[in-house]
Structure formats: structure tokens, C-alpha cells
Subunit: 298 residues, 2 copies
């Protein structure tokens, strides 16, 4: 990760990891295998993009860093829940994640199901209970935003629609692809920004702005991922490159072609920068974040 | 279900189902299969014991019925989440539930994973957002109590320990059995009582009383289930009777014998009735509930 957002994200990472370390059950506590597997999945080398978005949005609206870290850690738990379940044999059937065996390969399927369940539950619980010094209304709003982003109108619905599209090519593929990714990827990225704002007693206009920016970033994130999947190789990605294409999956390059996908990414970049220009001036890292999403060197 | 609690529970059921009908996404909304499968699992003929406990506890402490129904429906969603995931081939591998094919048999495994995820998420979200007229602090407390009951110190931890005990007979089986069921069954039953109380701004002493009663009911529920499993047959249970014993599963009868299990059930009944006697006198259904758990005619 290069650029100002990359630096910010790299410096933030140990703080998020310290919060995760504190909030996750100890590996020595029974049932040990479950707690060890939760830690295996969470400390697997993720870039902590969602925590960074939450902290960036919160700081933009004046919320102190220490009040944002538990929520940032909680979002990473919720994100990891979705990865662990999506990797299961019955879903995407992935053997590798970030260069290491997926949870069901390293442990077993039952453990992977329960690890996902436990991370979803603990993530939402953390948003409800931490930090205790934040007003209950703000914690409730933060947790409800994330639960909504997880549900069938968010990530879970997007994943289901994605699986259905694999079996039956949708009648309106471009609209279906957009709808899938708005929910599968965009919903939690949007929630990350809005939760950061929720700790700062945000007005409605600012919340709408963060919502629009989140949708735009989600789109860039997904197109970027799809383009990277075609261009990349196993070594830098840590997963089987070209897998999406070989499975005739509905992706931006498979539907629109590589060049058109790159152009859509540039258009989304312009829209995102317009939205960023309307944020309070206190945090100029958002522009760098947009460029990071366009040219990820993961 | 016979007795006063049976009557109460039967009359309550259509009210809980109406709340579930309102709160679950419409079957016509995309992704349809997911929403249909959620309804298939929730409207499968469950006895709605947890909703009844929540309403009973809430009304005991003076909370109006209409404020309790959304939380009661949410608890049933969370309970159903655990059934759907526990039935998966990688976990208990059950083909039938209440006489009908389990979700992964009726649909497929991917759908069953996502149905469970969606019911957990929606259940917690409902507790956070409904009813809007209840103070945010009470909703936050209700949702946090249930999230805690779900987590690795609750249902998920109990299920993991149960699976581990199937592979390796524990060194201290009696303690392990008790710990498994305190979490796997007792935690959510206890949460049901405490959530009902939480809507009524309960004092600490009453909350402790409901917690103790919940633990006791959970124990009775599990011993009763194990005893029923030995005594019952496929027809009345709607699942393969004697399955637990044939799989050499850690159960009360397999560990202590049938007679000793029945005695433990009677002892738990005495303890439960002592606790019930300390509740406000407004609701005499708790005694009938205790008898229902001792002699379920499901």
C-alpha cells in the first residue's frame, strides 16, 4: 500500500490489532479450538480497510481516535465472518485466503461455521457495548447500521444473489452485477463510514454524503478487485488468480471487458473525488484513499 | 402442550407469528429463495417456548404485551438460526426437524448457511430497533443480552464443546455435560427471561432472580429433552428417536442412567419452584411452566 492513505492505514493497523487482541476471547479459554480459530481468521494479514474507513470518517467529524478503535475492530470481525462463511465448500469453496489455508481447511467445516457465527455475534455485541463512555444512542445506532449492512438487504443478500447468478446467468446481467456488489461489498464499506460518523452526532446531510461516498467506494473496490483478479497472479494475491474468469462468474471484466471496466473505475473515481471535496477539510486522506482503491498494489 | 402454561403459550403463538410475519423480509423480495427459506425455517411448527418465556417475564414485571412481541419474535429468529446451523451436515447432520426436511435438505447447504446468518443478524437488529417507543437504553440492553447468550460463552461455545465431546469423551464428563448445556440451551432461555425484564427497568435483584431461574429451566429443558429422546419415538418427536444414544453422545441418560436423570429433573423442579415463589405474585404461570418442562407432551 503506497500513498498517504497507505501510510495512515499501516500506522493504524497495530492499534486496530491491539483492540482486536483485547476484544477477542483468549486462545486459552474453552472452547480453545474455537477461540484459536477465531484468532487465526482475524489475524490473517488483512489490510484493515474497513477499520481505516471508520477511523477516517470519525476523525473527519472530530471524534477522538480512542473512541473509534473498538468499533473499527468490530467491523473487522464482521468482515472476517463474511469471508469465513463465503470460503466454505458449499459457497465459494476456497482453499486459500491471503496465502494461508482457509479456516475450514486449517480446522474443519463445523469450526468454520461456528467461527463465522461467533465473529458476527461478537462484532455486533462490541458495537453495542463499546466504548462505554459513548452515549447508548450512538452505540445503538452504530450496531444497527452494521446489522442492516450484514442482512439480506446487505452482504448476505448480495452473497445469495451472487451464488444464484453463478447457476443462472441473470436476465439483466449489468443491473444484477451492480445490485450484487452494492450489497456484497458496498454495504459494509458504507456502514464503516456512517458508523465513524455516528460517534460524532452527525447531521442528516453529512450522513447522506458519507452514504453516497460509501456506495461509490464500494463500486470502485469491486471493479478494482475484478480487474486485479484478471491482471494479477497467485503470488501477489494469495489466492488462485483467474479463478473468477475460469468459473464464468459474473464480473465487471467478464461482462464489460477489461478496458470498459478500467474506464468505469476512472468514472467512479471522479464521482468519489467530487464527494470527498464536500467533506470537512480536516482530513485530506480521503483523496488518497480513492487513489488507493483505483490502484491497489496488494 | 397441556396445563396453564400450555394454554398461555398456545394463545400467544399467533401473536408471535404475526410479529414474525411483519418483521421477516417478504418472500417476494429478492433474493426470494433466501427469504422463502428463512420463512420455511421459522414457520416450521416450533413451540415458541423462548418467546413465551420473554412475554411471561415481561408481564410479570408489568410490561404491556405489545411492547414484548417484537423481542419475542427476535428471540425465535435467533433460536432458529442456531437450529439451522446445528442441523448442517458438518455439524449434527440432521435430515429432519419437526417432521420436515431441514433447510439444507429442502434447499441446499449454501442457503442454510446464509439463512442462519440472516436470522441471527435480523434477530439482533430487531432487538436494537423495536419497539421504537421503548427507551434506546432498554433496547441496547436487550440486544446485548442476546448477543452475549449467542456468543462463545453461550450457545456457540456450547455447540463447539458438544461437538468436541463427541470426538473425545471429556475427562470430567459430568462437569462437561453441565457446562455444555448451560451454554447451549440455558443461555438463550436465561436471556429470554432477562430481556423480558429489561423492558421493565428491572432492579439488580430481580435480574439475578431471573438469571438463576433461567439456568434452572435450561437444565430442566435439557435433561427433559435427553430423557424424552430415550423414551420417545420418531412419530411424536419428528426426528430420529434414540439417535443421541446410538451415536454415543454425551447425554444425561447415557452418563447418569435414566432413573438418575429423572431424579435430577425432579430436584431441578424443586429449585425452580423455590425461585418462582420469589417472583412478583402477578403471574402464576411460572409454576405451570416448570411442570411443562418436566413432562413435555410434545
Amino acid at each position: 500500500m503506497s500513498g498517504a492513505f497507505g501510510d495512515f492505514s499501516r500506522r493504524l493497523r497495530p492499534e486496530v490489532d491491539a483492540a482486536l487482541e483485547r476484544l477477542l476471547p483468549a486462545a486459552q479459554e474453552d472452547p480453545r479450538v474455537l477461540h484459536q480459530a477465531m484468532r487465526y481468521s482475524v489475524f490473517a494479514g488483512g489490510k484493515r480497510v474497513r477499520p481505516a474507513l471508520l477511523v477516517l470518517a470519525g476523525e473527519t467529524y472530530g471524534v477522538p481516535r480512542e473512541l473509534l478503535l473498538p468499533g473499527a475492530a468490530a467491523l473487522e470481525m464482521v468482515h472476517t465472518f463474511s469471508l469465513v462463511h463465503d470460503d466454505l465448500p458449499a459457497l465459494d469453496d476456497d482453499a486459500l485466503r491471503r496465502g494461508r489455508p482457509t479456516v475450514h481447511r486449517q480446522y474443519d467445516e463445523a469450526t468454520a461455521v461456528l467461527v463465522g457465527d461467533a465473529l458476527l455475534s461478537l462484532g455486533l455485541q462490541t458495537l453495542m457495548t463499546e466504548p462505554a463512555t459513548v452515549a447508548p444512542e450512538s452505540r445503538l445506532r452504530a450496531a444497527a447500521l452494521v446489522a442492516e449492512a450484514v442482512g439480506t438487504r446487505g452482504m448476505i443478500g448480495g452473497q445469495m444473489a451472487d451464488l444464484e447468478a453463478e447457476n443462472d446467468w441473470p436476465a439483466a446481467p449489468a443491473a444484477a452485477l451492480e445490485a450484487i456488489h452494492r450489497r456484497k461489498t458496498g454495504a459494509l464499506l458504507t456502514a464503516a463510514l456512517r458508523v465513524g460518523g455516528a460517534y460524532g452526532a452527525l447531521d442528516g446531510g453529512s450522513d447522506s454524503l458519507l452514504t453516497a461516498l460509501g456506495r461509490c467506494l464500494g463500486l470502485m473496490f469491486q471493479i478494482g478487485d475484478d480487474v486485479l483478479d484478471v491482471e494479477g497472479d497467485s503470488l501477489t494475491l494469495g489466492k488462485t488468480a483467474g479463478k473468477d474468469e475460469s468459473a464464468r462468474k459474473l464480473t465487471y471484466p467478464s461482462l464489460h471487458g477489461l478496458e470498459a471496466s478500467r474506464r468505469m473505475l476512472r468514472e467512479a473515481r471522479t464521482e468519489a473525488l467530487d464527494l470527498v471535496a464536500r467533506l470537512p477539510a480536516s482530513h485530506d486522506l480521503f483523496g488518497s484513499l480513492v487513489d488507493y482503491l483505483c490502484q491497489r498494489d496488494r
